[in-house]
Amino acid sequence: MREINVSKIKDAVTELCLKANFELRRDVLKALKSSIKNETSARAKNILKSIIENAVLAKKKHIAICQDTGAVFVYLAIGQDAALVGGDLANAIDDGVEEAYRKGCLRKSIVKGPFIRDNTGTNTPAFVVTDIAKGDKVKIAVSPKGFGSENKSAIKMFRPTASVEEIKEFILDVVKGAGPDACPPFILGIGIGGTFDKSAYLAKTALLRPIDEPSPSRHIAKLERELVKDINSLKLGPMGLGGRTTVLGVNISEAPTHIAGLPVAVNVSCHATRSAEKVL
């Protein structure tokens, strides 16, 4: 067994929270830059330019890209030959988040409960999912997720005989429902298959994949390309003020499912889709 002290995980979570909030992802920035060339209206071009200008300023001056510094989603792939020692893992993750949000002057947006809405003051708890992986390493991905787009996300349980066209129509409806509110151009994380909860997990983790990296599965990559085209045909455009860029990327993950069902989850994310990761 390889021992990893949880204090290293705490430090990594702090580092990744800060990086994600100050530095827009390389793939997202690249997509924004190339989308300017496709736009014809001055307004759409100007909005995209200001989004890029914002990213440059945020990185240089360490000001959060967006004031909604999010609910912190933490994904851990823990190698089965790694032993986590030196304390409680959940506490280490929350301590890492708390330190980043204090040091980085990031907004604390988490309340104690859905009805008792007192701010926890630390932006914790983080929302953690863990996978068991091969080997002795721990992969950590952190994604501060804004709620303007989270609020527009949806799950639908389809019949197992549903057509791809029906599924596409649902996804387009989710995008129309998100409309100008959720800061288009969007990035969509889509989970297809699994169970009710698994599809949401797939959708959320799909957002961690760079948008210039298609699904390794050929039929899913084809669906991703088709959805990008269909969604951009809606002409919602940057901030919903019209244009050719409604989506910057569509990432789909699929999983085995039950003979009676076909779950589809769509996690809507804004143009400021943020994440950072490292391996310990």
């Binding site: 307004r43 909005i47 200001s50 989004i51 200008e53 914002n54 300023l57 945020a58 001056k61 360490h62 000001i63 959060a64 890209i65 967006c66 004031q67 909604d68 510094t69 002057c105 990031l106 907004r107 604390k108 947006s109 809405r117 701010n119 003051g121 804004g146 303007g148 609020n151 409806d173 129309k176 429902g177 409309g179 100008p180 509110d181 959720a182 800061c183 809606l234 002409k235 919602l236 455009g237 901030m239 919903g240 003020l241 019209g242 244009g243 804004c270 143009h271 400021a272």
Partner: protein, 180 residues
């Protein structure tokens, strides 16, 4: 580009048309979900509102705390539609305008038209850039709400687009896509 100053009087608003690009200077007040609910509850209970909102501009924003030496942290708009249920009553208090992002309800649109105020759009997700337009910021009401408190912001050339003008015309109606 049109430059305007607060307070937003009826005269200042009258000529603004949906889609116009505006640079706003002066004082704006932040208020988002929790502050709206509190003000709304005060109105419903017939209590005095501890804030003069006549010709005021309300900004749907919960900023990040400022780094040392800066006026404010990241400070972009939040989704306006979450305020829709409270907005007609807030408009009744005589406000001049609102700043947010996204669509509004038909009730809000009617209230804007009736009271001749204006709804501005700020670009979402560019809070770092918008922070450079804020010269000072201090919490003035519901301070215990933290980021959700009412902050008085002094802004210079804050970039906006007229979303709904005082005639009730909506920029999204002519943006080239169909509302759901």
């Amino acid at each position: 580009m049109i430059s305007i100053k607060t307070p937003l009087t009826k005269e200042a608003i009258r000529n603004l048309k949906a889609g116009d690009e505006v640079l706003l200077s002066g004082v704006i007040l932040t208020a988002r979900d929790a502050a709206h609910k509190r003000i709304y509850d005060l109105i419903k209970r017939g209590k005095r509102i501890p804030l003069n909102l006549k010709d005021a501009v309300i900004y749907y924003c919960g900023p990040t705390p400022p780094m040392p030496g800066r006026a404010i942290g990241s400070c972009g708009p939040t989704t306006s539609s979450r305020m829709d249920a409270f907005t007609p009553e807030i408009i009744n208090l005589g406000i001049g305008g609102m700043i947010g992002k996204g669509d509004r309800s038909e009730e809000v649109k009617r209230a804007i038209k009736r009271h001749k105020c204006v709804y501005f759009l700020a670009t979402g997700g560019i809070g770092a850039l918008l922070s450079t337009k804020v010269k000072s910021a201090r919490p003035i009401l519901f301070k215990e709400l933290g980021a959700e408190a009412v902050y008085k912001l002094d802004v210079r050339d804050f970039p906006l687009i007229v979303g709904i003008d005082s005639n009730g015309k909506d920029v999204y109606d002519t943006a080239g896509w169909k509302k759901k």
